[in-house]
Symmetry: D2
Amino acid sequence: MESEAKFRLSRVGITGVKKPLVVRRGGMATTLHILLDLYVDLPAAQRGSHLSRNAEAINALIEEAVHNPSDSLEGFAARLVRDLLVRHPYAKVAEVHASADYFLERKNASGGRSLEPFKLLARAEATRNGKKPKVRKMVGVQVVGMTACPCAMETARELIAKERKDKKLAKALESIPTITHNQRNTATLLVEVQEGHPVEADELIELVEGSLSAPTFGLLKRGDEGALVLAAHKNPKFVEDVVRTILTKLLKRYGDLPDDAHITARSESDESIHRHNAVAERATTMGELRIPYPSED
Amino acid sequence: MESEAKFRLSRVGITGVKKPLVVRRGGMATTLHILLDLYVDLPAAQRGSHLSRNAEAINALIEEAVHNPSDSLEGFAARLVRDLLVRHPYAKVAEVHASADYFLERKNASGGRSLEPFKLLARAEATRNGKKPKVRKMVGVQVVGMTACPCAMETARELIAKERKDKKLAKALESIPTITHNQRNTATLLVEVQEGHPVEADELIELVEGSLSAPTFGLLKRGDEGALVLAAHKNPKFVEDVVRTILTKLLKRYGDLPDDAHITARSESDESIHRHNAVAERATTMGELRIPYPSED
Amino acid sequence: MESEAKFRLSRVGITGVKKPLVVRRGGMATTLHILLDLYVDLPAAQRGSHLSRNAEAINALIEEAVHNPSDSLEGFAARLVRDLLVRHPYAKVAEVHASADYFLERKNASGGRSLEPFKLLARAEATRNGKKPKVRKMVGVQVVGMTACPCAMETARELIAKERKDKKLAKALESIPTITHNQRNTATLLVEVQEGHPVEADELIELVEGSLSAPTFGLLKRGDEGALVLAAHKNPKFVEDVVRTILTKLLKRYGDLPDDAHITARSESDESIHRHNAVAERATTMGELRIPYPSED
Amino acid sequence: MESEAKFRLSRVGITGVKKPLVVRRGGMATTLHILLDLYVDLPAAQRGSHLSRNAEAINALIEEAVHNPSDSLEGFAARLVRDLLVRHPYAKVAEVHASADYFLERKNASGGRSLEPFKLLARAEATRNGKKPKVRKMVGVQVVGMTACPCAMETARELIAKERKDKKLAKALESIPTITHNQRNTATLLVEVQEGHPVEADELIELVEGSLSAPTFGLLKRGDEGALVLAAHKNPKFVEDVVRTILTKLLKRYGDLPDDAHITARSESDESIHRHNAVAERATTMGELRIPYPSED
């Protein structure tokens, strides 16, 4: 390596670390099975990052969590980036990405209960800044639901009316939900959490679930299926609509979040009529979201 | 290893090999980008399989294919298993699994043309058997299309009629396709190819496409979308129906295949109302398929 | 569907179901996050399998497990296939495949402790058979470790000796572990569990870990790394060796398993010198494993 | 949707589109099998992006490419983003990400030739800017090779010397490559291509291959394996080293690239001694890379 130019590296770290993590949710200890990626930067003068210190940091905090659990995955991520800056004195920045399966009870139309899987996400970044690092952290959720396409509903309605040449039927059709393509949709929301502005993952999950055409369920008896299909078709949504509904609900529920709080919302639809997916995304800040349309655009 | 018991191994080989392969399709040379897994068995007396011979076999046949291409992926797989038995004189069995993306032009409702992606599959197995190995080979295809659920269509129809309390509407609804959940479906068909009974992958693709509620397209203008949605809802299918339609069409089109020809048909639906998938599968032979119901069951 | 031939289906079911499952391990309740596939067969006369009954079966047993946990994942899978045959009276066979991340504490060379991730696997199959179904179940484990290649070690040794033209060095080299390629290896063992012959997953994990060139660890300080590398190079193994060592250890530890107990052992190596993987596998029964070489081959 | 706040969306598009694309490489037409993601932004005032226009744009350019092929994947991506801005008059930004398997002949130590798989990557972004959009494009390559750890080599050497208590051996060991862990490494380089500064993907592949401890090959006979292992151990590299070597070679070969040309280099190692991966990354510009150390840091 002797003859090589020295370059700063933006990120050096380890990815794909699996661990069980105890967190305290609603007064109760629960164990998440987390997947972690973590990085620090590396100055040009230093050949290698001390990668084993990352594993030491994780192990120390996983162990600490047994007795003194964080109250959230993002809380754990924030502890971890702080610890990484201590263990890597040459680093100016530390980053952690974490995710975990997460289960909540949901009820279907006929009252049947089922534990449904969601994903918790967390990100934290610590920047060295005098004695006390500046830490930013984000809580995120990923929800699988259903979207029904508003556009194909209109064209299908026109086609049926035309095919049947029955004006009364055409009229009646306008008042009932008509056929369209619908599909599995994965919606994601990441919200920056700041001091004094708590954000609760369970609430974000509800917020995102409520932004799709309909939620999905593991257990649906015959009648539940019909009810779910009907609900979804009464509430047709493009991927664009899903993202905007999420943002609307977020502004309503967490309107007090500071202007510089980062927000990312995303909806990805496994299109039933295509082999490819449809995606909509907005990465922004609370401040930008508050600028009233049409000024924003 | 000295003190260890000696055991025969069922399969030793290499997986995940990527190569470009020239095949002759309809008089024209075309290049597939194939993914290969290949194995031979290993007798108890021998410590290691000569794995590099597998790579040699592939390279030799890939090179040969430039000048003297196989007319199919399964033809190449059959050449390869034969070659593997020659290169591994200690082996009694050689196996190859291959797959490749494959593109065919399709037209949507308004005549728009688009190259749509499918998957070609191939399997071959050679069993040592005197001087001439016994070789079996299968051609397979994988098609992504759309299924609309017949069951939810009925319950949704009942719910709408009940909600509207309009008997005429209820009556009218019975005659038009009603809302239901629909979703992306991946259907797979593998057919054993025997001497004198050619099976054409392009035909299998058409056969499987025609067994779904509707095909999918990359390019759908507004009107095409409506037409596709309508077609799918006029042809609602469970995963079970998809498999049975495939088998019905196969019997009709390739009824002359020998009794011992292996057949596998599968349909997997990325359920829009669930986070999990629904799957139906039949692994069988042509002979069994020909036994008329109710005797078969 | 009216005009379609009726065919029996081998498997109809749901895949990719995620649930939290309480099991009792060593007197303690622990929660696994399981991934489930489950199927029943379907007679030709019946159009659709009642898929929602699968979800009901899962939910009922997941709930029951809170108060009355199974003592293993395969125990849960066996309960589930039994329940599936009750809920699907038309089915002759029910199948369940399950997997879950699983964590055990391990120590590195210098005594550092770390929770390491493994995978638990389970399979169960129930066949209708008069009043009491016949149930077979398998426990499985997946372990990620390290293999160092014995063959390249020899050739590298020869090359170094030749390059240095130093006979003494060549001689000395023969007595120390020499360079070779080494890589991540994923080894899997599935063992059929029968009445009166308990098999413990934690023991299988140890058994498989001990069959690789060396285990892997999340946390390795500088000295530990050297020790691990040295251990692996003193114990070079082909994928073939890994499978045979597993089988040898299995015969020693679980020699009393009945003759018809199914066994599958597999080793897959993410070859560092290739882009493809190397794989060895043996699918067999305890009876066959007990036939002494050379008779077996 | 009537009551919902209107928000601009950063990205709306389609992902996972598969197509065959003819490109001209070195005077010859070759067909890549590409995977495409493409997006435009969406103003707050507009409910939906016209997603079918994306598919039309792709199809039009895929067809055009048959007669008038781009000379690179990034050239195609640049055409596509320009076309997207024309087809989406409301959009200010269009983005395309593309990748494709790609094969080049390589020779092993004994002269054996083999077609080895690489990945081509491309990114393009068009920003509306008066009449002529501003287009930026990047060419990228992904290479799978091998890294041997320099640190474990030292500690293993110390351990062996200590164990053998032989000073002469210890001395001799210092002069020969010693055992260490080595593994599969995936290295990625993305370079912005600007007018008058052509960058050739084949050269980038060579450059990245030359930055690893050693390349990998599909076909290695016994002697080749030893030679490759020896070469890798004579050239041990951390993931950090791989990235810095890439950057060093890039500066040497493409030193004339403009200051604002974006560069991303990454090395990810499937650690053989861990279950997790090690990663190093630098995202930067040519201008920053040219600032001589120690000033840069």
